[in-house]
Amino acid sequence: MTAGKRGTSATAEPTRDDRPDRFCTTSGLTVDPVYTPAHVAALDYERDLNDPGEFPFTRGIHRDGYAGKLWTMRQFAGFGTPEETNQRYRHLLEAGGTGLSVAFDLPTLMGRDPDHPLSLGEVGKCGVSIASLADMERLFAEIPLSTITTSMTINSPAAILLAMYLVVAEQQGAAWRDISGTIQNDILKEYIAQKEYIYPPAPSMRLVTDVFGFCAARVPRWNTISVSGYHIREAGATALQELAFTLRDGIEYVQYGVDAGLDVDAFVPRMSFFFNAHNDFFEEIAKYRAARKLWSQILREQFGARDERAWKLRFHTQTAGVSLTAQQPYNNVVRTALQALAAVLGGTNSLHTNSLDEALSLPTVEAATLALRTQQIIAHESGVTDVTDPLGGSYYLETLTSSLESGAREYFRRIDDLGGMVAAIERGYPQREISDSAYAAQRAVECGEQVIVGVNDYVEGETPDVPTLYIDESVAEQQVERLHRLRRTRDADRLSRSVDALRAAARSRDNLMPPLLEAVRAYATLGEMCDALRDVWGEYEETPAI
C-alpha cells in the first residue's frame, strides 16, 4: 500500500505503519491495550449498572430497549420560505420519518424581523424564516399536529415560537393536552457555545422557567427544554466536557425551577437532553450511559425527586456536523453511519443523521433522504436493535463509562466552586475550556497526530462535484413583502394592546406565556415581541475570550 499524499502544510510526516505507543480517547483518557475483569472489579452490578429500566438506568430507561419501540427518526430541516420547508417536511414524512424538527434562520433565532438591517443577507439561509403566526400557519399546513411530534431548535425566543405552535395546533383543532414535541429552550449553552442569545442571563432564565411552569399545567406532554451538549461539542469540547457542561446546565435549570417555586416531580419529567455523536465510537457510547447514570443519581439524591420519570434521562442525538469534510464528501456517509450506530448502541431516544453535503451547504433532498435511509438500515437490517444495551458488561465500555462519570463529577465541583453555571459562564470558564480543546484538536490534525481521511491523509487532488442547495435573495424579498402586507392588514388596536401588556408582564413576575399567546394571536411579529422584551431587559454582550 502506498502512503497517501498528505496536506502540504502538515508539519510532521508520520507514516501509517508508524502506530503510536499509546492511544487516548478524545477526552484524553489513556486507553490500555486490552481490558479484563480487573478493570471493572470495583463495579457493583446493581449499584452502578443494574438492568435496563432500573435505577440508575446506566443500561437504558426502557426494560425492552428498541424491541418495544424504535427511536424516533427526526431529521432537522428548514430553509427558505415556510412553504418550501413545508414541502420538505411532507417529503420526509412520506419517506418514513417519524417526527419533525424545525431549523429556523438566523433572524428568527435572534428575534429580528426579515426587514431589520441586521437580517440583510440572512433571511431563509440557515433555516426557515418565521416572522409571525402567519408564517407558522404556512409551515404546518396539512401536517396534523395532533399526531406528529415536532422539535423546534429555538432558544432565546423559544417561548414565542412555542406560543405560535400552540395557536396553530388550536386552529387545527388539536388539544394542548394531547400534543407533544420539544422546544430547545436551552439558553445556557447559547452563552457557552452557540452564542445566539438576546437577553442577559437572569431574564433569560425566567423565560425558561415560565415555559416549565406553563407547560406543566397546560401542555403536559410537551418537552419544555432540550438541554444541549450538541453545540458545546461542535464548538470544540471533548466528550467529557460535553457530558459535564450539559449535565451541569441541567442541574442549573432544575435549581432555577425549584427556586421559582416549581415542584421537581412536576417539571423535571418533561426535561430532555440532546447530545452529539462524534467519531470515537466507544467513548460516545460510554458518554450516553454515564449521562443517564449521573442524571438519575443527581435527581434522586440531590433534588429528592420521587417520580421515577424525573430520574430518567431521555435524549435526542445528532451526528457530528463538525466531523464532516468538504474534501471527498461521500466519506461523510460512512462517518455518519458509524456515529449513528454509536448513538443507537448508547440508547438514544431520537436521532438525526447528517447529510453528506453539509460541509458545503444545507442538504439537498437526495442527501437528506440518504441520511434517513442510514437510520433505517441500522434499525431494520443490522440486528443491533434486537437486544437491549448489547454492549453492557464490556470491560472496556464499563471502564470508560466510570471514567467519564468521575471526570464529570470533578467538573461539577469546579463549577460549583465558581458559584454555579451562570456565574461560571459570566467568568468565561466553560468558554475557555472549549476554546482550548478546539485549538488542540485542530493542531492534532495539522501535525498528523489525528488522521482525517481525505483531509490530512489519503488526500486526492480533485474534489468530486456534489449537488448542493443554493438559497438566493428572492426568499428575503418575498418574506419582507409579506411582512409589510401583514403590518397593513392586522387589527392595530388589538396589536398595540397586546404588545403593551407583554411589556408590562415583563416588568412583573407574572408568567409570560399568556401575554405572549395574546400577542401571537394579534399577529405581532417576532421582532415586535422580542423588542418589547428588549425594552425592559436590555441585551447581553459577551466579553470574547480567545
Binding site: 496536506g7 502540504t8 502544510s9 502538515a10 508539519t11 438566523l106 433572524p107 433565532l109 435572534m110 429580528r112 438591517p117 441586521l118 437580517s119 440583510l120 443577507g121 440572512e122 439561509k125 440557515c126 447559547e190 452557540q194 452564542k195 445566539e196 442569545y197 461542535e234 464548538a235 470544540g236 463538525v322 464532516l324 469534510t325 468538504a326 474534501q327 460541509a359 458545503l360 451547504s361 476554546s435 478546539a438 485549538y439 485542530q442 493542531r443 490534525v445 495539522e446 482525517i452 483531509v455 490530512n456 448542493t468 443554493y470 438559497i471 435573495e473 454582550e541 459577551e542 470574547p544 480567545i546
Partner: protein, 136 residues
C-alpha cells in the same frame, strides 16, 4: 520590522465562533498581532476597527450565507475611505459558485472547511500589502 496586524471579525447574526477563535489563536501563535472584534459586527464596525487599529488584514469568518451581502459592502467601505492597503480574506462555508464573485471584488483568500491554519498564515504572509520587512 513590522508585525502584521489582523482584525478577525464575525459579521452577521451567526454566533458560531469556533473557526474565528481558532484562527485568531493560530495567527497570534505565528507572531501576528490579532484583534478579535467579537460577534455580530456590521461591515461599518469592521472597517472602522480596521482603520482605527491600522490593520494590514481583515479576516472574516462567515458560515451563514451572508458573504454575498457582507463582502461587497466591506470592499465598498474600504474604497470610500480610500484604504487600499488592507488585505481582505474570508473563511467559512462559501459555495463554489460564489467564489468568482469574491475574486472579482479582489478577495482571493477564500478558505473553505478543512483548510489548515498554516495555509492561512502562509497566505497572509505572502499577500499582505505592503510586504512586511523581515518578519519570520
Amino acid at each position: 520590522m513590522r508585525t502584521i496586524r489582523v482584525i478577525i471579525a464575525k459579521p452577521g447574526l451567526d454566533g458560531h465562533d469556533r473557526g474565528a477563535k481558532v484562527i485568531a489563536r493560530a495567527l497570534r501563535d505565528a507572531g501576528m498581532e490579532v484583534i478579535y472584534t467579537g460577534l455580530r459586527q456590521t461591515p461599518e464596525q469592521i472597517v472602522d476597527a480596521a482603520v482605527q487599529e491600522d490593520a494590514d488584514v481583515i479576516g472574516l469568518s462567515i458560515l451563514s450565507g451572508a458573504h454575498n451581502h457582507v463582502c461587497p459592502r466591506i470592499v465598498e467601505l474600504l474604497k470610500a475611505r480610500k484604504v487600499d492597503d488592507v488585505l481582505v480574506v474570508v473563511g467559512g462555508i462559501i459555495p463554489d459558485v460564489d467564489v468568482p464573485k469574491l475574486r472579482a471584488l479582489g478577495i482571493t483568500g477564500v478558505f473553505p472547511p478543512g483548510t489548515f491554519m498554516q495555509q492561512i498564515v502562509d497566505f497572509i504572509r505572502d499577500h499582505v500589502r505592503p510586504a512586511p520587512s523581515g518578519t519570520a
